[in-house]
Amino acid sequence: MALKQYTWLIGFCLTIAFAGYSAAQDTSPGVPVEKLHNALLAAMRTGPETDCAGRYELLLPVVRQVFDFDLVARLAVGRFWRRFDKSQRAALKNAILDMSTATYAQNFDSFTGERFTTVSVDRPRKNKAIVKTLLITAKGEKVDLDYICRLKADGWRIVSVSAKGVNDLSMKRAEYTSFLKTHSLDEMIEKLAKKVKKCTRGPS
């Protein structure tokens, strides 16, 4: 074999191996879920010292990384997605990202002995997984948290969270599609932003 082709072949194999290596980081659907849970625990633990804005800053990069907001945004507005152009869609996606992070920051504000356990990981399809976890409080109460994850090019991402069976994605869809029937996208983004402002500007 000529030298040129030989080096090409080696380079090809190395690329594959490298890609495989980084993919191996996220081969388990449980990984993003664990990352999220760890970040939430960390946010809770910072409780007394930080306010909502601080927790928001802490959680934002993780939430951005583990969730698939492209899909979340499309699913949340249904048939309205078609009407939005690229920049509108990007704006919506960011608004939802910010709002979700702010919600987490507000709800997970102090640590009193909670822990998360992963109960099962199912893959009903090649690119879809259901991760069942439990949030166990110090008193021993258990809350089911089920995550639906989707396998994207760069790994698994969370699409929806169901607490006690109630799916947050459904609630978003119901709320947003009904709102968009009588309001514009900008108004909705503004509404979402209000929630974020409550966290980043208001008291903890």
């Binding site: 699913l75 259901i130 929806s160 109630v166 459904s170």
Partner: protein, 885 residues
């Protein structure tokens, strides 16, 4: 016919009858043995009954061949029982269908196939692909709003879960957030009201989960069962139908469980038609026998004579049935009437014979010579009458209407058999029974003037009156219509027919037109040709069962499964039963929350529903508190079943439907595909009509529009349309044949040409009068009674023959005619005929009833013409020959 020949025939008949009388015992015994043999032959299955009305017309006809070709390609579409399931709610109909289909599928020995339209797992999985992308988005939107409700109900599927959920909803004032509580409250209130009234109720989750309003069609489901034809049974389809009805009863699929199951389809309709025909025929047969017996008793006045006549009639009937078994092998829905026709007509020979015999005995003759002279005087008339009546029957044999042709053959030959019995067995029985009659006292009372003398006295007026009546009736003739819908011949009260009529008005008319296309391109062509036509609702073939835009839709369906969440897409989690106390507590708490939020609720759309619900629930809670533990437990469980009973089935359906995947024609289920594409590669195109096909105009418009573009269309509507044309043609042919044959016969036999013309003219007049009566009484011609008109020719002419023959024999003197036994004979034979046909007229089978009505009217018309007009015209015709009275 030269008089010498006539005399020779008379002499022969006289000799025959005398011989029968002399060897009476031998004749009677051999008649008995012969009858027994024939009965044995009949009851060992040589005479079947066929019920397929499409077989009533000749198989040579082109449109029937097209139909047969189609049936060969798609045999699953024939011999079906269609099970129609109607539920109070769509949920109930679906659940009932699942249960029933599962049971029926296991009975492989009874059913060739059990097909559930839309019920295959394949369609349950991929059903969502048939919705438009827009509808799917709407479904996703709606599912999003009810997802929290469903999630809670799945995890706690009991009353506690439900009412805790509702309590939360009220407290959170979810109405304000766009979740519509009004339908939920309203439906639960309905369930509560039904519980208090001890009525059956199931809350429909389909309505709540789909979010759109429901149509009647949504509450109806079908199962199509193809039977294994059981030709050995007299009632094919009986076993299958009994099995289905028994299964329905075992599964409690009845109105007290919110479901109604009915059977229709070709097998069911044929079965119930046969039942109604047999019911009617049995009753009619017995009644006509009894009534005829009474009439001849009044006419003949001697029990021995009546007995002899009845026995002769019975023997003739048996022998005719034997002939039917030998010559044809089966009876169809029309030829079953032969028995009644035979009784009514066959007895006439005996009546004329007996009355003449009695007349001769009373005038002093002794038995044996009187017998001979009876045969010599009425014998030839009877033979002529047998021929004319038989001609009326035989006239249908050369036509394509094989159903009536068979009746014609059987009844026509029956006339000769009846005559033979009358001339052979009757004299023998008189001899054996030692029938005797004292002669009438010498000084007979002066003969009373016959009431009919009135008409002969005013002959001219009668003649003119008759012409006016005939003209009037002729004017009405165009109003007589032909009803070519065999459905109208069936008992409308029977379940199969009533259900079928309902289906004809629905969106999925069973009377669609079908076309056999040799390849895909031809199928597409056909659809293109008929699609835009106004009477056509839609035209489909197998490609229409593969939805378009599958990839786009599959994306939305995947979105649906994300929105539904694992709680719905996965199997339900294990639960512990909270117990009765927890349930009652949940009810209490919910009521409290309603009361507490009363002021906010009142102003919302859900306000009135909430108030009604609160009231009803309070009453239920009171019942629970007053009842003992066992009763309270039962009440709670009933309430729970009524509210949540339909939910598991719907969740399972939703779960399945989220598993949709892309498919093409070759992926279609294996019992579905052959119904639309035959193994040889032929395609079925189905063309559905707009409107009710039981309506004649709608039906003809549809047929004509489609066949103009697609001449090879077949299907039941085309079959009966073409069939109607064939029958009308056959009728005209038959009428023509019989009229011509009878006219020739009369002209040949009757000594005076003038007499023959007179009889024929009156015959025609009787026919016109009958037509006029039909127009006035709105009785249509149809497949069943079409035989009546040529028959009336053949029967009606008999009266004329007897009258004229007697008139001439009596020296052309009208008074003698009017006093003679012949008049009595004509009256009584007409009465017996009407008694037998009249009983047909009250049959529950509309087809047989119309035959009876038409024949009765025809006989009456003929009687009127013969008794009123004929003597008058005969009297009138005398005038030039005599020098006045």
């Amino acid at each position: 016919m030269p008089p010498e020949n006539r005399k020779k025939i008379d002499a022969f008949l006289g000799a025959w009858v005398t011989a029968a009388g002399r060897h009476a015992a031998a004749v009677v015994v051999s008649a008995l043995i012969f009858s027994a043999l024939v009965l044995y032959y009949l009851f060992t299955g040589h005479l079947g009954i066929i019920t397929n009305d499409a077989d009533l017309l000749s198989g040579r006809l082109h449109y029937l061949q097209v139909k047969r070709a189609f049936n060969r390609a798609f045999p699953q579409l024939t011999d079906n029982i269609v099970i129609v399931i109607d539920g109070q709610t769509p949920d109930l109909a679906l659940d009932a269908r699942e249960k029933l289909a599962a049971r029926l599928v296991s009975r492989k020995n009874l059913f060739a196939s059990v097909y559930v339209p839309g019920g295959e797992t394949f369609f349950k999985k991929n059903g969502l692909l048939y919705l438009s992308a827009n509808d799917l988005q709407s479904l996703a939107d709606h599912l999003a709003t009810v997802q929290p409700l469903l999630a809670e109900l799945i995890r706690h599927d009991n009353l506690k879960g439900l009412f805790s959920l509702l309590e939360q909803a009220v407290k959170a004032d979810q109405d304000a957030q766009g979740i519509d509580l009004e339908p939920v409250f309203s439906k639960i209130a309905d369930a509560a009201a039904a519980l208090l009234a001890n009525r059956f109720y199931r809350l429909s989750w389909i309505a709540l989960m789909n979010g759109r309003s429901l149509k009647q069609a949504d509450r109806r489901q079908f199962i199509i069962v193809q039977t294994i034809p059981d030709y050995s049974s007299l009632l094919p389809g009986r076993r299958a139908m009994h099995a289905i009805r028994k299964t329905v009863r075992t599964l409690h699929l009845d109105s007290s469980h919110g479901v109604r199951v009915r059977l229709t389809g070709s097998v069911a309709m044929a079965f119930e038609e046969l039942q109604s025909v047999m019911r009617g025929a049995k009753l009619a047969g017995i009644l006509s026998f009894v009534m005829v017996g009474i009439v001849i008793f009044i006419g003949l006045r001697s029990p021995k004579m009546v007995l002899a006549t009845v026995l002769t009639l019975l023997a003739g009937l048996i022998w005719t049935a034997g002939f039917a078994a030998l010559a044809v092998g089966h009876l169809n829905m029309i030829s079953v009437a032969f028995a009644v026709l035979f009784i009514g007509l066959g007895v006439d020979y005996a009546i004329h014979f007996c009355l003449r015999y009695r007349e001769l005995l009373q005038s002093g003759e002794s038995a044996v010579p009187a017998m001979r002279r009876t045969a010599e005087s009425v014998g030839s008339s009877l033979v002529l009458c047998a021929f004319t009546t038989a001609i009326g029957f035989f006239a249908f044999i050369p036509t394509d209407f094989s159903g009536v042709a068979e009746l014609g053959l059987i009844s026509g030959c029956g006339m000769f058999i009846g005559l033979a019995a009358t001339l052979t067995l009757l004299p023998a029985l008189f001899s054996v029974l030692r029938f005797d009659l004292p002669p009438a006292p010498a000084a007979a009372a002066p003969a009373r003037r016959s009431p009919l003398a009135f008409f002969t006295a005013h002959a001219k007026a009668v003649g003119i009156g008759a012409l006016i009546a005939a003209a009037g009736a002729a004017a009405l003739l165009p109003q007589v219509r032909f009803d070519q819908n065999p459905l109208n011949l069936r008992d409308p009260a029977s379940e199969s027919v009533a259900t079928f009529r309902e289906l004809l008005k629905s969106d999925n008319s069973p009377w669609s037109l079908k076309v056999l296309a040799t390849n895909e391109k031809q199928a597409e062509n056909i659809i293109r040709r008929v699609k835009g036509l106004k009477p056509v609702k839609r035209a489909i073939f197998i490609n229409d069962f593969v939805p378009s835009n599958q990839n786009e839709k599959l994306d939305i369906i995947e979105d649906l499964s994300f929105i539904a969440g694992p709680v719905i897409t996965e199997a339900p989690p294990h639960q512990t039963d909270p117990g009765d106390a927890a349930r009652i507590l949940a009810l209490h708490d919910f009521l409290k929350s309603l009361a507490g939020h009363g002021h906010t609720l009142r102003s919302r759309p859900a306000g009135p529903a909430a108030a009604r619900l609160a009231d009803l629930l309070a009453r239920i809670v009171q019942h629970l508190e007053n009842a003992d533990r066992a009763a309270a437990h039962r009440l709670l469980r009933r309430f729970e079943a009524s509210l949540l009973g339909s939910l598991p089935g719907r969740l399972e359906a939703l779960r399945l439907s989220l598993q949709a995947s892309a498919f093409g024609i070759k992926d279609l289920p294996h019992d579905f595909l052959p119904r639309w594409k035959s193994p040889s590669g032929a395609y079925r195109v189905e063309i559905f009509p707009r409107g009710d096909m039981a309506n004649r105009r709608t039906r003809i418009r549809f047929i004509q529009a489609v066949t103009a573009r697609v001449p090879q269309a077949t299907g039941y509507p085309v079959v009966i349309y073409e069939g109607g044309k064939v029958v009308a043609r056959s009728f005209l042919q038959a009428f023509g044949y019989s009229l011509a044959a009878i006219a020739l016969l009369l002209l040949w036999i009757m000594p005076q040409r003038r007499d023959a013309v007179l009889v024929l003219a009156l015959l025609l007049m009787a026919g016109i009068l009958t037509g006029g009566c039909m127009a006035i009484l709105h009785i249509p011609l149809n497949f069943a009674n079409i035989i009546a008109l040529p028959l009336i020719l053949g029967i009606g002419v008999d009266n004329g023959i007897h009258i004229v023959h007697r008139f001439r024999a009596a020296g052309s003197r009208t008074p003698a005619l009017l006093q003679s036994s012949t008049i009595r004979g004509v009256v009584f034979s007409a009465l017996t005929t009407i008694c037998s046909f009249g009983n047909l007229a009250v049959s529950p089978h509309p087809g047989m009833a119309s035959m009876g009505q038409l024949l009765s009217i025809g006989i009456l018309a003929s009687l009127a013409c013969t008794l009123v007009v004929l003597p008058a015209l005969l009297e009138d015709s005398r005038k030039p020959e005599t020098a006045g009275r």
